[in-house]
Symmetry: C2
Subunit: 196 residues, 2 copies
DNA sequence: TCCATTCTTGACTGCCTCGTCCAGAACGGG
DNA sequence: CCCGTTCTGGACGAGGCAGTCAAGAATGGA
């Protein structure tokens, strides 16, 4: 009953996200986003609203994907909880170290640039951090039940520490720390987890 | 022999820094910086060059001050090294939590926005992280010699972990984590340091 | 006092960027 | 095969931006 959209929304959002991711929100130009997506500006504005709304959409989607990825990495039987935790922390360090484009993490970049100016960004960031922390808490608690981490520690506190270390690795990686440094941090964080 | 400058360079740089700090490099307008400093744009350009050079100057100065502050917090006799470390980590958490303006740390913000696009920013960030890490290493080593931290741990690795935790606290604070969460992270990080 | 020199101011330029708008295109129901 | 509706693409306008410039002001030495 009307002309259908000729583009895939997911692809367009990914292309837009890459623009924001590479150079930041303020520096990204709507014309470049239009060129990258292959859409005319009219279509872009018609489908997603203005630049801010488009950013919020890509930011929210990205954060949701991030949480899903962490969930996939950490979910599983209690017996392997510590091993999954270990693998995840090391994977984050390695991924950060080998990020050739040095774009870092969009969550970190968006939060640094806009949280405190844009309540919507801050809300998404807070929600995302909380979700990841909860996944970490579950995994730590699982490892405790499996007897791999000391039982009388508060899993939420250890998870908070691990979350801070993960975000710190990300921050240091963007600052140009060496792959060895990042891996060393990850290993040390895992090594200091209290064993039974 | 010529007209002298009517402004204090330090004050102007501080005012400019606050503009970049509040809204980021790309979003800061040279006209606003001029208004904030009280200078005309001509004086600003004459004294500091273009916007990028002005930013690099404020960024470098700020990082140097940051390193000095950490040095003042951590330097001292070996006997009190662990206590100074403890006080510093907790102070960072509290300062981040009570940052009403939620500007976060200029080092983090500048690095997130520009490192990877501007080699000069990346170099300053790397240098600053390395300097802080070295101060932490010295302090950890002092605490080890004083018998407050387990002797056979590599001080550099523990310092790397602490640096990551500090940067992580900063990142989470900008994301809106609660003061309690941040303090808990700091306390947990201190608690897991291996004792003799 | 006069002059060479450097500093100050803000108007100005030219480019860039967001967001709008409209003429035309693609669709599907009737 | 129409026709109402939605989508498309890019030209356009209005405002914003970084950086320049020229006219005048403040200084110290001669």
């Amino acid at each position: 009953m009307a002309r259908p959209r000729s583009f895939d929304e997911g692809e367009v959002l990914r292309a837009a996200r890459d623009q924001f991711w590479s150079i930041g929100y303020a520096a990204a130009r709507v014309d470049d986003i239009a060129a990258a997506t292959g859409l005319g500006k009219g279509s872009l504005y018609g489908a997603f609203g203005d630049k801010r709304q488009l950013f919020l959409r890509t930011f929210d989607d990205h954060c949701a994907e991030l949480v899903d990825a962490v969930r996939r990495a950490l979910d599983g039987p209690e017996a392997g909880a510590l091993e999954r935790l270990r693998a995840h922390v090391l994977a984050v360090a390695d991924a950060t170290a080998s990020d050739a484009s040095r774009r870092g993490c969009l969550l970190a970049k968006g939060t640094a640039e806009l949280s405190g100016q844009d309540p919507a960004v801050e809300a998404t960031a807070r929600r995302t951090f909380a979700a990841i922390e909860e996944l970490l808490t579950s995994c730590v608690a699982g490892a405790q039940r499996a007897g791999d981490i000391k039982q009388d520690e508060d899993p939420a506190r250890l998870a908070g520490l691990l979350l801070a270390v993960l975000r710190g690795i990300e921050a240091l990686g963007k600052g140009g720390s060496s792959p060895d440094s990042l891996r060393s941090i990850a290993e040390t964080a895992l090594a200091v987890l209290p064993r039974p």
